[in-house]
Amino acid sequence: MRGAGRALLFVLVLAVLWGLWEGYRWVGIKAGITRPFPVNDTTMPHIHEIFAQLFKPSRANGPMLIHVLLKSALFTAKEAATGFVLGGIIGFGLAVGLAHSRLLERGLLPYMVASQTIPILAIAPMVVVWLGSLNSPAWFSVAVIAAYLTFFPVAINSLRGLKSADPKALELMRSYAAGRWRILWKLRVPASLPYLFSALRVAAAGSVVGAIVGELPSSIQDGLGGAILNFAQYYSFQPKNLWATNIVAAALGIVFFVAVVVAERFVVRRAPENVA
């Protein structure tokens, strides 16, 4: 019953959003709204036409657009997933280092915060050139860019989580003469898991953004970023292609997010604080 109610609500909200879009479009075209932007078929295509576009051939006698886009999405997903894993490992490793040394924490933390204000798009071409000169494939450079957006939330939240271990439990472990590594493994890491996963949810979205944005200046044509750049150039003729591509990109972000939420259900259930 609750499930049915939820599903109904879900459909209802979608219908309202659809109605708002089509309603604004209808009023806009009738009344000739030009502010904040002119409303017409190019700026606001019909939503059903955007979805229909997915099932039309991408070019004459070519495969359906959705086939092309799913292939691109798979390519971008490979970059994003590699970047996610890489960034997650680096972020957690940094957090472990910083949790054990005040000096490192004071010295490095401000720069980790500052690193996120660097416009990733601007350094993407340099990363591609650097790694290209080491003979690594171009998609891996994009994965590194995705990792750059992933490591930060993981590092910050894991650090908070590693420090959130119960002080009494810490004292108990010390009174048993437990070493640093044992305390880390038995106490700090389990305590950090809920924090880690809330960061991973943010990082999942970040890795997809990093992969798409990283593709833009790297002239990689195989992924969603390349598709967006390509369709953006033909927007005035074929606006629906760009909208359709963005829908696939949105779906990819949500798939990554949901994957982390599912993983969290499995892992955090076993963490001690959820058992007690």
Partner: protein, 260 residues
């Protein structure tokens, strides 16, 4: 006196790491004879930064205005919508999943669409994408903050015969402020990124993102790095301004994380 000592202890390691990092960068580039297009020396970037300071800062100012405009519009609308949604539970539970899902969507990919909606050369196209980027994190955190109040606090206020408005002003808003400011700090960074990525898809020649793109394609890498430095400095200044506002507004709350 001990305040000064504490401050020093906080900042000395950070400053030392910066100096060490810069020296290592300078030396390594010379020793390993890394080519200029891969990574210029810090001194080369610094001189480009100085020589072209006028054009760089005016470009930075142009982009900064777009970022701040988007930040203000997106955050203000998000807080207003959050206030409304937090008030009506059914509406909130209907909209919240979408807001959370929207946070997982690469919204930045919509930048070419806002460029097509508004003219790509205008500031409004970048303000629009920056505003949309800021909207969802601020909305989610505003709702979370307003609904994070402990029930006992509300009961206490009720027992004092406080009205809904009084409870809202004295309990809910103070409880929500830390959440809102956390989101605003994230949004300040997002707004900068939104403006620069939006400019990548086409923008005025005066814009910082366009200047970075152009100088990189003309192999003026020192200028490109100097422009990136300007973007960082502006991003950090923006972030710090929001953090400072947080300090002033939430003065009564103990700062978390200090001295454990």
């Amino acid at each position: 006196m001990s305040f000064v000592a504490n401050r020093l202890r906080d900042w000395v390691p950070a400053a030392a790491f910066l100096v060490l990092g810069l020296v290592a960068w300078q030396v390594l580039v010379s020793v390993l004879s890394i080519q200029r297009f891969l990574l210029p020396k810090p001194t080369q970037i610094a001189s480009a930064f100085w020589n072209e300071r006028h054009s760089l800062w005016s470009a930075g100012w142009f982009t900064f205005q777009e970022a701040v405009g988007g930040f203000v519009i997106g955050s203000a609308v998000a807080i207003l919508v959050g206030l409304v949604l937090a008030r009506w539970k059914p509406l909130r539970s209907a909209v919240m999943p979408y807001a959370i899902a929207a946070n997982a969507v690469p919204i930045i990919a919509f930048a070419p669409i806002t460029n097509a909606w508004f003219s790509p050369l205008s500031k409004s196209s970048k303000i629009a994408i920056a505003a949309v980027l800021c909207f969802f994190p601020v909305l989610v955190n505003t709702i979370r903050g307003l609904t994070s109040v402990r029930p006992e606090s509300i009961e206490l206020m009720r027992s004092y015969a406080a009205g809904e408005i009084e409870i809202f002003r004295r309990v809910r808003v103070p409880a929500a402020l830390p959440y809102i400011f956390t989101a605003l700090k994230v949004a300040s960074v997002l707004a900068m990124i939104g403006a620069i990525v939006g400019e990548y898809f086409g923008g005025s020649i005066e814009a910082l993102g366009v200047q970075i793109k152009n100088s990189a394609s003309l192999f003026q890498f020192e200028t490109a790095w100097a422009a990136i430095l300007v973007a960082c400095l502006l991003g950090i200044a923006f972030y710090l301004a929001v953090a400072l506002a947080e300090r002033i507004v939430t003065r009564w709350q103990p700062t978390p994380g200090r001295g454990e």
